[in-house]
Amino acid sequence: MNTQLCAIKGSRDGLVVTISDAARFAEVLTALEEQLIASESFFQGSTVKLLVRQGTLSPSQLDQIERIITRYGMNLDRQPPSWGLTAAAREAPVPAARSEVEHNTLLVKRTIRSGQRLHYDGNVVVMGDVNPGAEVVCTGDILVLGSLRGVAHAGAEGKTDAIVFAFRLEPTQLRIAHVISRAPDEKLPQPQGPEIARVVGDRIQLSVYNH
C-alpha cells in the first residue's frame, strides 16, 4: 500500500487526506482507494479535508477525488486544514502502527448511532452511548461512559483478557476475542449500575463494577 503518496490522518482539525505529490495524480487515486478499502467503513459519515504537499490539483481532479471519497460514505470539505503544512507532518496516522497497539486509546466524544461502525487498533473510550444498530470493534478494551446497546467486540484480534465496561451494559451482542454472547430474548431487568464483561473459561461473564 502506498502510504507515502496518499495518507488519511486524524488530526485536531478532523480527518485529513494528505497527498504528497499532485503530479502523480493517477497513482494518488489508486493509493486513496486502497486506503479507503483497508479502512472498511471506519471513516463513514465523516468529513475530510485535503492537504496537498507538492503541486496543485485542478478542479476536475478535485472532483475525481471527491467522487471517490463520497463513494466511501464521506464528505469532502474543500477548505484546506487550518493548521497548514508543517504541523501536518507531526500528526500520527490512523490506523496506528502495529507496534504501539497496546498503548493507543481512542476517545470518542459523541454517541455512536445506528449504522455507524467504529474500528480501532487499541482501546476505545466512548463518552456517549453506543446505540442499537451501532458497532464498536477494537483490539483492546472498550469503555462506554453511557449506555451500550449495540454490538461491542473487544480484543478483536484474540486478546482474551480484554474487557468491556459500560455505565449501562445492555448490548445486543458482546464479543471478546473469539467468544460471543448475545442478549437473552426475554427482557432482563435494567442494570442498576456500571458493569464489566470479561471472559471466564469459555464464556463471557458480566459483573457489577466495584473499584
Partner: protein, 266 residues
C-alpha cells in the same frame, strides 16, 4: 432571511408528508410566509395532501433546469394564497435528475422570499435524502413509537450530523396513549433514552388525519382535532414560543410526560 427546514425520517410512512403539510399550514395561519417543497421525486404526494394536485403545471425539475421561472411553478394554497405556496416534485423523472448543488441554489433563492421553507424528504438515505438536506439549515426527524422506526431515526440523526446539520429536533407521531400505558408501545421516555435529541412535538394517532388527507385540507385547520392541536403547538414552538407538550389523554398519561420534562439530563 428565512429558515430552511428539512423534514426527514429514515423509515417510510411515518408521517413526513403529513407533518410538512400541517406545520406549513400552521405557520401560515400564524402569519408566516411559507414555501413547501416536495423533494420526493417520482413519489410526490404533498400536493395531494394539500389538495393542490389539479393545479400543477411546472415542478421542481422545470425550475432547476430553467424551463420556467420559479414564480410560475409555485402553487398558491387554497386558503392562504401567496402566504403558503407549494413547489411540487416531478412525478415522472429519474430520482437523480436533480443534484444537491441545484437544491442549494434554489434554497438560496427561496429563503430570500419566505420566512420558512419546509422540505418534505423521501424515505431512505440515498440520493433523495442528499438533495433534501443539501440546502437545509435545520432538520426535523419524524418517527413513530416503533423500534424499527426509532432505529432508522437514529441512523438518520447520524447522517444529518455527517452532513453538518446539527441539533435536529424530533417529532413523535402516531402515539397511542392507551397502548403506552399498557406497555404495548414505546413511551416517549423510551424513545428519548435512545435518540437523546430535543423533542419538538408529540402527535397522537388520530383518524381525523385520514379524513383531512382525503379532503386535501391539513388537520391543523380543524379546531376540534387533537392531532390538529398538536401541530398548532409545534408551529408555535418553531416561532420560539414555550408551549408545553400536550397531555394526550386522561390524567394517567401525565406521569410519562413528567418523566420526560424533568428528564433532560436523564
Amino acid at each position: 432571511m428565512g429558515k430552511v427546514i428539512v423534514i426527514t425520517s429514515g423509515k417510510g410512512g411515518v408521517g413526513k408528508t403529513t407533518t410538512t403539510a400541517n406545520i406549513g399550514t400552521g405557520l401560515a395561519a400564524l402569519g408566516q410566509k411559507v414555501c413547501l417543497v416536495d423533494t420526493d421525486i417520482g413519489l410526490r404526494n404533498l400536493d395531494v395532501v394539500m389538495g393542490l394536485e389539479n393545479r400543477i403545471v411546472y415542478d421542481l425539475l422545470h425550475v432547476v433546469e430553467g424551463q420556467c421561472r420559479l414564480r410560475q411553478a409555485l402553487i398558491k394554497d387554497k386558503q392562504f394564497g401567496d402566504r403558503l405556496v407549494l413547489l411540487p416534485a416531478p412525478q415522472t423523472r429519474e430520482k437523480d435528475a436533480v443534484t444537491p448543488e441545484q437544491m442549494k441554489e434554489l434554497m438560496k433563492e427561496l429563503r430570500e422570499e419566505y420566512d420558512f421553507v419546509l422540505l418534505d424528504s423521501p424515505a431512505g438515505i440515498e440520493h433523495g435524502f442528499k438533495n433534501a438536506v443539501a440546502g437545509a439549515d435545520h432538520a426535523i426527524v419524524v418517527t413513530t413509537p416503533e423500534i424499527a422506526a426509532v432505529r432508522d431515526a437514529d441512523r438518520i440523526i447520524g447522517l444529518l450530523e455527517a452532513a453538518e446539520l446539527y441539533d435536529p429536533q424530533l417529532i413523535i407521531n402516531r402515539v397511542r396513549p392507551g397502548m403506552v400505558r399498557r406497555g404495548d408501545m414505546m413511551s416517549i421516555g423510551d424513545i428519548d433514552d435512545i435518540l437523546a435529541i430535543e423533542i419538538l412535538g408529540v402527535v397522537p394517532d388520530d383518524q381525523d388525519i385520514i379524513v383531512s388527507t382525503n379532503r386535501g385540507e391539513p388537520v391543523v385547520t380543524n379546531p376540534k382535532s387533537r392531532a390538529g392541536q398538536a401541530y398548532r403547538n409545534i408551529a408555535r414552538r418553531l416561532l420560539g414560543e414555550e408551549v408545553p407538550l400536550m397531555n394526550l389523554e386522561e390524567r394517567k398519561v401525565m406521569h410519562w410526560f413528567k418523566r420526560l420534562l424533568s428528564g433532560e439530563a436523564q
